[in-house]
Symmetry: C2
């Protein structure tokens, strides 16, 4: 008996989340005997609650294929965490009502920790309410902090962006340091886990002896140690590149960027660990500094995505549909490393309860003893070391990204405000 | 009679200045009857004063060719402006002394406005002191503000970086704006000329109706007009992307982001317009914001350089050597547009006195009437519209940039401190 499939994107997007969408939709189209129509929720779970669904069957084959090289979230994503069943029973009942109205038998939720938790909850509630539904999570996060999976689709591309940018900017600073900027600070994402900051270490090459100092969220910031290290690098190399994670904390565990400090202009700190660190250095040594904050640029830079990352994102999307059709409820496809050198991987399966709301921190063994760099063990991680290139097509000098039609499915229910609980 | 050639890099580097270096060195190597050895000054004019020269003849053919895909300044650049002859006669005499000691007959200086001025001065002084020298400037600047030349090598690549980044980040924000960030602010370079900010407008495609607001240095910042525009875009599109030039000024002509610090040329050191603008928006409307500062990332991003830009940078390097050998003293190769559609260009020649210390602002006709966008005339500029891709080779997921040997030429003179004037 045919059932419809509903796919939704959740949380911060990545440069390859749409490759997962392409995997889901292409696989769903191939299950002609088991899957009827393939819908996508507009703006994640909010779209489900509002019965705001997109009919992906109206998108051309070429458009769906082009999602593999298009960043952002093609159907819209959201930051919206469902409360517990006892707190917000009405919301869960609404979800089931929407599923029933559109004969949804498969629900695929593409996100991180929170989203795995949401998928697990929805699965439990459907069972509780007697609605037949197979829920499968599709992993995605730039933070690389999901449990069970060897690495997370989305991370490899950010790693490539950060390593490339650090190498390029360091060559720039090096060439000017004699008479200009001596310290360059780049702020990268990763609020709780230092994986993204660690990727800066991949810029290090034997032929470039880069003076690189990394500030990890896992290592409490020690100003004296840090300044001594910067001074040593500048003395030896003439310059220094500092990569600071947005999640760096002081010895009391407070985010540096929440410290209430004033910036160089005497204004209240506007947010941003990079200017704060840069100003510390200049106050201490009078070195001229420059700083950059990559922010969304790093996670949307599809022009520089990793080929492995694109392939893994696409594959977990396809396998999620296989799992759904097989009735493997409350599961998630994961990346398994089957060989180190050469790097080979396959897609395995994890129970959602092993993934939901868990956070995988960087093991201490990947951070050098002094806390300012990465170890060879970290450098050798295949998800970062063997990534390849997957450039998008270009048109008139700018990537030729896809814009879907995103036509709405006709509503069958009464309007619902997501503020109703 | 053979003379040696000396090449030096000056000012802020670009992602393609080394392509000009490759053009110079490859052309110089081909003039076996006219040019003896080809030297490069370490760290620009400072290296000449210190007699700190690099012997490029010791670099392999492959290494020089690889400069075409390597960012930064391979021989080191500098921010160091020679004073007038009357103020610093000793420095000029030292330059001539170094030229004479190493039988330099050709001096090629690769930089922007200031560097064209330096090359012109050196040429004049050599004549005054009776030293036979042909000085040729090689154009380079990301700011696109050099006179005479149709566009500047270095700019096309930054334009490609900014347009691509704005498109990518906008797709990211769009997909999250329903329940998260509504305003994204990207700060870009361009102290006095809005060319780089204007490049953001190239992200605009018919199929993506991007809500984009550009703040140009040419348009005094009007807070009320700006906020009204942002509110309108957010109401219509759900989000808004703001691109702010570091050089944006208030109605009194003061930089919004003026830190009070000055660089070696006495120019104000800027940085931090993005957080300032982002906070303005949030104070006014409570919209959640994110901001990014691209800083050196934009001008060193060789992974995303424009093919046309690489070719033009390489060509002006080659032609500069031709001009030197022909004795065309105090000149500079320039880019001439010979056809609009399809875009075709050639390298012409300008007298240095027509270039030195001049600044080409964005014509007002390239900025839309409301001051927040670009016009179709700007969009059609071939230096931005027809750029192509020129990706570098990669190794283990990161660009495989070249590291030269940079072996020093033996000194023949006594040490000299650049602080002696």
């Amino acid at each position: 008996m045919k059932k419809n499939l509903l796919y939704a994107q959740s949380g911060g997007v990545t440069s390859v989340i749409n490759a997962s969408a392409a995997g889901v939709i292409e696989a769903a189209r191939s299950y002609t005997a088991r899957i009827g129509r393939t819908f996508a929720a507009r703006n994640g779970i909010i779209g489900v609650l509002r019965e705001d669904l997109i009919d992906t069957d109206l998108e051309s084959k070429a458009a769906i294929a082009a999602l593999k090289h298009t960043p952002g979230g093609a159907f819209g994503s959201c930051r919206f965490k469902l409360k517990s069943f006892s707190e917000a029973r009405g919301q869960y009942e609404r979800l089931i009502e929407v599923f029933a109205a559109h004969e949804i038998g498969y629900f695929l939720y593409n996100g991180g920790n929170d989203s795995a938790d949401t998928a697990l909850k929805v699965s439990g509630i459907a069972a509780k309410l007697g609605y037949p539904l197979t829920c499968v999570a599709v992993p995605k996060t730039i933070d690389n902090d999901l449990a069970v999976t060897d690495n997370c689709p989305g991370f490899g591309s950010v790693a490539k962006y950060v390593a490339t940018s650090v190498l390029e900017a360091s060559l720039d600073v090096e060439s000017m340091c004699e008479s200009s900027t001596k310290v360059f600070v780049l702020e990268v994402m990763g609020r709780h886990a230092g994986w993204i900051a660690a990727a800066a270490g991949l810029a290090q090459r034997p032929e470039f002896d880069l003076p690189l100092v990394i500030l990890f969220p896992e290592i409490p910031f020690d100003e004296a140690l840090f300044l001594a290290r910067v001074e040593r690098e500048v003395s030896k190399h003439g310059y220094c590149t500092v990569v600071v994670s947005e999640g760096v904390c002081d010895q009391q565990g407070r985010f540096l960027s929440d410290s209430g400090n004033k910036d160089a202009f005497g204004h209240a700190q506007l947010g941003g660990a990079a200017p704060l660190i840069a100003n510390l250095v200049t106050r201490a040594f009078k070195y001229k500094h420059h700083w950059a904050v990559a922010d969304y640029l790093q996670r949307s830079a599809r022009h520089l995505s990793s080929k492995t990352d694109v392939e893994q994102a696409y594959s977990v999307g396809r396998v999620a549909v296989d799992l759904a059709v097989e009735g493997r409820n409350a599961t998630m496809p994961v990346i398994e490393r089957i060989s180190e050198d050469p790097y080979r991987w396959q897609v395995g399966v994890a129970e959602l309860k092993r993934v939901a709301n868990k956070e995988k921190k960087m093991p201490r063994k990947f951070i050098s003893k002094d806390g300012f760099g990465i170890t060879d063990a970290c450098r050798a991680l295949p998800c970062t070391a063997d990534v390849g290139e997957a450039p998008p097509p270009y048109r008139d000098g700018v990537p030729d990204y896809e814009r879907l039609l995103r036509l709405s499915v006709e509503r069958r229910l009464k309007p619902y405000s997501i503020l109703d609980r």
